[in-house]
């Protein structure tokens, strides 16, 4: 299939334009994070006058970034672990059993994903505050409350993706394990999970990402003690005197874990993310 000259040029122009559009903010983030303060206080400069790593040192002192970091890490890891265990069990049920309500469960789980978050936020806020007042359950402003909230955010996607992976594993494999006397859970953990490892990893990254980057619920359900990066970083950028080089350094640092995880597991994640549209 030969490509005519002008078609090739259009293609190159499209790719170049999109690459520039994508790269400019990334370049701004990276280059500004190594600029001295005077460079970011005047008009934007394309190249740093000198390269300094000072912003990466100073950023921890300007705002309690370390506290935000720990909060985000604890909450995201907690949500990731809980959501994975729950999703693995649910995906096993959905993939290997035919039971009443199966279709309803799958559809409604997906539907909740599409509802506006603000609809849950107001009642959840009141419920949390009241559980605290009535039963002494400290969910509002606590990391546990955030873990409980976030673990559900990644559940529908995780269940769908894992069920897809389980479906692709021949039933004979786990049936053989069942005949050998292993229980159904043994078959799940010894046979299915090892075979679906890329899917499990993708789900782990996805649920970590969801919790690490969520803003709406974190802005209401956390206090200054439990503030996460997603909310704390904005506070950084709205101080009266903004150290933009430090803000960019912090943005870069908090992006790296998520970005690396996503890019490493690109294939499995992309497959899962696009499956909804491509299959139906």
């Amino acid at each position: 299939m030969a490509e005519s000259g002008w078609a090739r040029w259009i293609r190159r122009a499209v790719i170049t334009a999109l690459a520039v559009f994508t790269l400019v903010p990334l370049y701004v983030m990276v280059s500004s994070s190594v600029k001295p303060l005077r460079d970011v206080q005047g008009p934007f400069t394309a190249v740093p006058s000198t390269i300094t790593l000072q912003p990466f040192v100073d950023m921890w002192r300007t705002v309690p970034l370390a506290r935000y970091f720990v909060n985000s890490a604890v909450i995201a890891l907690g949500a990731m672990v809980c959501s994975m265990v729950i999703a693995i069990l649910a995906a096993y049920a959905v993939s290997r059993f035919r039971f009443r309500g199966r279709g309803t469960f799958l559809t409604s789980a997906l539907a909740t994903q599409m509802f506006p978050g603000i609809l849950f936020l107001l009642p959840l806020f009141l419920i949390f505050v009241n559980l605290d007042r009535g039963f002494g359950l400290e969910l509002f402003g606590s990391r546990v409350g955030m873990v409980i909230t976030y673990l559900t955010f990644a559940l529908p996607f995780s269940i769908w993706l894992l069920a897809g992976y389980f479906d692709a594993i021949p039933r004979e494999l786990d049936e053989a394990a069942l005949v050998d006397g292993t229980g159904p859970l043994g078959a799940l953990f010894r046979v299915l999970l090892p075979a679906a490892l890329p899917g499990v990893a993708a789900v782990a990254v996805y649920s970590f990402m969801t919790a690490w980057t969520e803003v709406l619920f974190a802005s209401v359900l956390t206090t200054s003690e439990t503030r996460t990066l997603a909310v704390g970083l904005r506070a950084y950028a709205t101080q009266s005197n903004v150290y933009w080089n430090q803000v960019m350094a912090a943005s870069l640092v908090v992006s790296v874990p998520v970005l690396l995880g996503f890019l490493l597991l690109q294939r499995a994640l992309v497959q899962g993310l696009t499956a909804g549209a491509v299959k139906s």
Binding site: T112, I118, I159
Partner: protein, 314 residues
């Protein structure tokens, strides 16, 4: 008969446990979904029938029941509540249409341009993923820096390098804030359209293109006669998902402008958030959320009905 009686109890027991097992292992997911999604949603509908404000919120279960009063005050067109909501609704619809259009067109252009293998294609594919993989707060805050009036890259390029205007425009307040909002949302979400369309393109048999080539069809003809029709089922879902994301978008305006977003860029989620947490009028906020959900349901169901009918006819 006797053999059946001999082994009778065991299969029966096994059948019982086999029947209960899927529900047992599904229970944690079910409980979590109920606790964080379904129950709060029902509570939200209940809240929308209460007069919940800063006075009654402490004891909200006993707040006065007002029936549909909250909905009436949202629907009373000359009230300031209704005016604010209507304005924000208009902004949100316009934003969603423009953002979806931008995201879809960029995604389509990139997917088609990268369809044919060439050196460096894998690198570009990964690069195009980055905006979507980056935590939203990092990327939107970077845009916030770029859009600063005095120190941002955008004004430096437009005013100092290109000299398009003499006056440095504001990008985060006033009319321009809407433009900023659309651009940032498109930058962040177009890779998803790119991914989905790329996956869709891979399912189109290459024979179709070869046949078209034999017939002497040019690239435009191939795009409109093969690529787009074959992508139709994928695009149907993609456009809907992009629309729902844009319409529900809270993060982009909140991160870009903070709680006090300019009215020109105050998307509906942020509008409800502001009016709920600034005035503590949760009853009204819940009523607005319920209306927002109803609107989305009507749009989704209507859209799918139209699309499916066209597919059946076509």
């Amino acid at each position: 008969m006797s053999t059946a009686a001999d082994v009778g109890p065991r299969p029966a027991r096994r059948r019982w446990s086999a029947r209960a097992l899927p529900y047992l292992i599904l229970a944690p997911a079910l409980v979590a979904e109920l606790a964080v999604h379904i129950v709060p949603m029902l509570v939200g509908v209940f809240m929308s029938t209460l007069r919940l404000n800063q006075f009654s919120i402490r004891d909200w279960v006993n707040a006065p029941f007002v029936g549909l009063d909250n909905y009436v005050s949202v629907a009373t067109l000359d009230s300031s509540v209704a005016a604010g909501l209507l304005r924000s609704f208009g902004v949100t619809v316009l934003f969603s249409v423009l953002a979806v259009l931008g995201e879809f067109l960029l995604g389509l252009a990139a997917a088609v341009a990268l369809h044919r293998p060439f050196r460096g294609r894998a690198v570009l594919r990964t690069l195009f993923l980055v905006p979507f993989a980056l935590p939203m707060f990092s990327s939107v805050i970077t845009w916030m820096f770029m859009l600063q009036r005095d120190t941002g890259l955008v004004n430096t390029v437009l005013v100092d390098w290109l000299g398009l205007t003499d006056e440095r425009p504001f990008w985060l307040v006033g009319q321009n804030s809407f433009v900023s909002l659309v651009v940032v949302a498109v930058w962040r979400t177009w890779p998803f359209a790119f991914l989905t369309i790329t996956a869709g393109l891979q399912s189109i048999p290459t024979e179709l293109y070869e046949a078209a080539n034999v017939d002497g069809a040019g690239p435009w003809r191939r795009l409109f006669s093969i690529t787009l029709p074959m992508l139709r089922p994928v695009n149907t879902v993609l456009l809907l998902v992009l629309f729902l994301w844009s319409f529900n978008d809270f993060n982009t305006p909140y991160l870009l402008f903070g709680q006090a977003a300019p009215a020109e860029a105050g998307l509906i989620s942020l509008h409800i958030y502001q009016s709920s947490f600034v005035t503590w009028n949760f009853g009204l906020g819940s009523a607005m959320s319920v209306l927002m959900l109803l609107f989305l349901l009507v749009v989704t169901v209507g859209y799918l009905a139209v699309v499916n009918r066209r597919r059946d006819n076509g």
